[in-house]
């Protein structure tokens, strides 16, 4: 088991720079999730940690040792690939034991480790099948099993669940979480799915176009996003963003007026002092609207569509052309009228400047 440290890690493919100076500390035994939209450099970062890609600049250290020039095979890491990458011509048993056998691991120990992994993942009945005879979920288990038998210092997962159907994804997610509790090994997990990130991570690393936007515990990112990108990426459905301008700056905080409806003014208790009249973005999550009259301001929206899921309803609405999603729990008939008035609780609202940085 080991912690990791990335220091100013840069990756270039020829002239194209795809990772721009990543700094990150990962504690021993932590479950860290790299999350971000497709193409933001998550896999590249993971593959650099594995040693499958060269590091163009900066340093990667595992357990305190810089590994930039250490062969992948000597880094004591195991990786689970998105495509599983099982050995197609070998049985499940051989897939698990192959690496150990090739390295001259004692036979009895190999058998013990394989049996142990098979128990953990409940793949005992599959041991004599080949990957081609397995379902996607079973292959995924074998791929994880192959990583477990290595008894690595660090597990790397690259979007391991993205080829599974929704139900299986939830199930495997829980199992991976259990596995982490059971083994206690450091795990780095890449996904573009914020739900996976929120549910699995001790620590989430949000990436955008090769830059780390924010690092933190799932609920910290949810409650206290550093910028508009993180605010929009974490949480489902997405946070609503409404254009606004600074109306006043005073003792109680900053007052913003919506552009869509300037009569809606909201004073947020924040200490930064933006210029009067400067454009800002007001963010509020769908689940944080309150009943009309209970917030610091009321907002009336035109209802487009309402989805009733039983325990909650999602109202797809608009105000002067700006789209909004409003969640109304315990309210089965919300949005059945043409308009809807909801409250805006100032405590639950965020302000972002024109560059998308959070005004605090």
């Amino acid at each position: 088991m080991a912690g990791l440290a990335l220091t100013n890690v840069i990756k270039r493919f020829g002239a194209l720079q795809v990772v721009h100076g990543a700094n990150l500390d990962i504690e021993d035994g932590e479950f860290v999730v790299f999350v971000g939209p497709s193409g933001c450099g998550k896999s590249t970062l993971l593959r650099m940690i594995a040693g499958l890609e060269d590091v163009s600049g900066g340093e990667i250290a595992i357990a305190g040792n810089v590994v930039n020039d250490v062969e992948p095979s000597e880094r004591h890491i195991a990786m689970v690939f998105q495509s599983y990458a099982l050995y197609p011509h070998m049985t499940v048993r051989k897939n698990l034991s192959f690496g150990l056998t090739m390295n001259g691991n004692p036979k009895a120990d190999t058998q013990r480790r394989v049996a142990h992994a098979a128990d953990i993942l409940q793949i005992n009945e599959l041991m004599d099948r080949r990957p081609g005879q397995l379902s996607g979920g079973q292959r995924q288990r074998v791929a994880i099993g192959r990583a477990i038998v290595r008894e690595p210092q660090v597990f790397l997962f690259d979007e391991p669940l993205s080829n599974l159907d929704a139900e299986l994804r939830v199930q495997m997610r829980v199992e991976i979480s259990k596995l982490h509790k059971q083994l206690g090994t450091t795990m780095i997990y890449v996904t573009h799915d914020q739900t996976e990130a929120m549910t699995l991570a001790d620590k989430i690393v949000v990436l955008r176009t090769g830059r780390i936007e924010q690092v933190g515990a799932p609920l910290d990112l949810y409650d206290d996003p550093a910028n508009q990108f993180v605010a929009g990426f974490i949480g489902s459905p997405k946070m609503n963003f409404l254009k606004a301008t600074i109306h006043a700056v005073g003792q109680e905080g900053v007052t913003a007026a919506l552009i869509a409806d300037p009569s809606v003014r909201l004073t947020l208790p924040i200490s930064s002092r933006p210029d009067i009249g400067s454009p800002v973005i007001l963010g509020i999550r769908p689940e944080h609207f309150s009943d009309a009259g209970t917030g610091e301001a009321d907002l009336t929206v035109a209802v487009h569509v309402a989805e009733h899921l039983g325990h909650t309803s999602y109202v797809y609405a608009g105000v002067s052309g700006e789209p909004l999603i409003i969640e109304r729990p315990e309210s089965r008939h919300a949005g059945d009228q043409k308009t809807l008035t909801v409250g805006l609780p100032a405590k639950r609202c965020f302000l972002f400047d024109a560059e998308g940085e959070r005004l605090r």
Binding site: A50, L52, P72, S73, E74, I77, A78, M79, F81, S83, A85, L86, Y87, P88, H89, F98, G99, M102, N103, R146, R150
Partner: protein, 286 residues
């Protein structure tokens, strides 16, 4: 439905006609001819004449022996070489890959007569470049066309030169169908490059290599152009006479079509038998 079928067959008819006339009929007819005495006019039915002769004909056994020797040496050497070439072509370090791929494939496109002429020149005992080259390392000149063993070696080299690239291209396609992340997984599993080749690449290539072997066996069983053109019609003194050449001599020099047909059927039967053996021993072991 039936009208549709009829129209479909009408479109197929020209092909079926040609297929029947120039494929099916010769196959049937040569089988029938092999049971006839074709050295008299008109031909007479004599079921044991050609087949009986075949069983006891030293020329047949000589040709069979030569063909099998070539098969046993040339096919494995060539397939091994082709595999190495394919791995080389597949290397990410290789620059100008299309150029090499083209170069390896070119021998197949070159006309048989042209390449045979070049080989005859290169291996000429007195002024051939090959003897000059081996002379520089102190080996005395080899009379490639007068020494039976040397002539066989020459044949094997020629056939290998001509077909190795072709097989390499097929094997390359197989290599490229192996996903790269399997190798990455193996690398992280601490499996070395050489072990990866023997434990991952070769097993996954097995069906392709078997296919190449079967193709090559069929080709070698019919080997004709090289012994005819390069080693002077199976020379010296029948030392490189192959079954294909024997067939040609019997059929088109001696005009003994009955015997030639029997030889043709023997070649086909042997090719099928050897290919089946291959497939049998190479099948997926459960």
């Amino acid at each position: 439905m039936r009208v549709h079928n009829r129209i479909a067959y009408a479109f197929l008819a020209p092909y079926l006609l040609i297929f029947a006339t120039f494929w099916l009929w010769p196959i049937i007819s040569s089988f029938l001819i092999s049971f006839q005495n074709t050295r008299v006019n008109p031909w007479r039915f004599a079921p044991s004449m050609n087949w009986g002769r075949l069983v006891g004909d030293p020329a047949f056994y000589n040709a069979l022996y030569n063909t099998l020797i070539i098969l046993v040496i040339q096919v494995p050497v060539m397939i091994a070489l082709a595999t190495v070439m394919a791995v080389f072509l597949n290397s990410p370090l290789l620059k100008a890959r299309p150029l090499y791929r083209f170069a390896f494939f070119v021998p197949v496109v070159v006309g048989e007569v042209a390449y045979a002429a070049v080989f005859r020149l290169m291996f000429s005992a007195d002024f051939g470049i090959i003897n000059k080259i081996i002379g520089t390392v102190g080996i005395s000149p080899v009379s490639w066309f007068d020494n039976g063993t040397a002539a066989m070696a020459l044949l094997i080299m020629a056939v290998t030169w001509r077909w190795a690239g072709y097989n390499a291209i097929i094997i390359l396609a197989g290599l490229q169908s192996i996903p790269g992340d399997v190798y990455e997984a193996a690398t992280l599993d601490r499996v070395g490059k050489v072990q990866q080749f023997f434990h991952i690449t070769l097993p996954l290539l097995k069906p392709i290599i078997l296919f190449c072997i079967v193709l090559s066996v069929i080709g070698t069983m019919q080997l004709f152009a090289e012994p005819f053109l390069i080693t002077n019609r199976g020379g010296p003194g029948g030392a490189t006479e192959t079954l294909g050449l024997l067939l040609y001599r019997q059929g088109f020099t001696s005009l003994n079509f009955g015997y030639a047909s029997a030889i043709a059927y023997t070649i086909a039967a042997l090719a099928v038998a050897i290919s089946l053996l291959n497939l049998f021993f190479g099948r997926e072991t459960k």
